[in-house]
């Protein structure tokens, strides 16, 4: 055979296609590479489950922060009567509330005072104009 230039990427892809074509071939390749295919598979599934869980927690936290920020925006945009009513609700929930007005209320303060359900109720009441 004469000298030949080999495109190594194509050979890698071609060899990998064998693994996709037959599970026995894939398992044999992995054994050749020093892996136990069934243990590797379990490890992979566990790894992905963990990543899904972490991501779900991150999404939930982001949604919660967004929700409380939305409530803060609504409080800031509310009329003075509504703001007084909101201040009253917050003081009843947290008698040790340090501030006398809502100017310094931020998302973190609000999360310490209200639960997720309570902030949803607050948003609903503000939207319906029930706080006066």
């Amino acid at each position: 055979m004469p000298e030949k230039k080999v495109d190594i990427d194509k050979l890698i892809d071609s060899y990998s296609e064998l693994a996709s074509s037959n599970p026995d071939i894939l398992n044999d390749m992995l054994k050749e590479q020093g892996y136990d295919p069934s243990i590797l598979e379990k490890r992979g599934i566990q790894k992905v489950r963990k990543l899904i869980f972490i991501q779900q927690v991150a999404f939930k936290k982001a949604n919660l922060i967004h929700l409380f920020n939305r409530a803060i925006e609504m409080v800031n945009a509310a009329s003075s009567d509504t703001r007084e009513a909101i201040l009253g609700i917050l003081k009843r929930k947290s008698p040790s509330l340090q501030f006398r007005n809502l100017e310094k209320l931020d998302e973190e303060n609000l999360r310490q005072i209200l639960t997720e359900t309570e902030v949803l109720e607050l948003i609903e009441k503000i939207e319906k104009g029930e706080l006066k």
């Binding site: 080999v6 990427d9 071609s14 060899y15 992995l30 599934i45």
Partner: protein
Amino acid sequence: MIDPETFERLKAISDREWGDIYKELTAYAEHRLVKVGFEPRSEKDNVTGEDFAVQAIEKLFEGTRAWDFRRFPDLLIHLKGIVKSLISNHLKSSARSAVRKEKVTDEIGEPEKLKSAKHLLDEQTPEQIIISEENWKEIEAEFGDDEIGVLVFCEWVDEVPPRTIASNYDIDIKDVYNALKRGRRIIQKVFAEN
């Protein structure tokens, strides 16, 4: 952060499918680390193929290597692209020492600039290895009486897909695999000796 729609797509993939993806990705990474047998591993930082498979899947879930599932629906191809760039980066940084004088290694694109899916696998300048006339003589001698084996191996090196080889010689895909497995062992020996 990953976008919620892509995350829902990933969540919809069954455990069984994830298991297969993980295994295939690991095997792919191992083949890439040794260039399917043409180059022994010699870098100091001996990271495994599984490590690269994990890194690729983590980047997918973090959204740092976003998956455009509408344009490139095959997730495994997308993950292979990520693994390819990670390994390329790793080999550059670890300064692999065993470089054959015949080998022509072209510059590979900057990993961070790589995009998504199959074109990511295709767009990099190909890396080539030269099999000399002398190498061929040694390879043929190592195959001995196994005439089909050497023919299958030559066809593979000529970039004929394994399924086509199986069809051409009217043999099972597993026989093609066995011939290539033998061929890979031979080239490992031939290239290690030279």
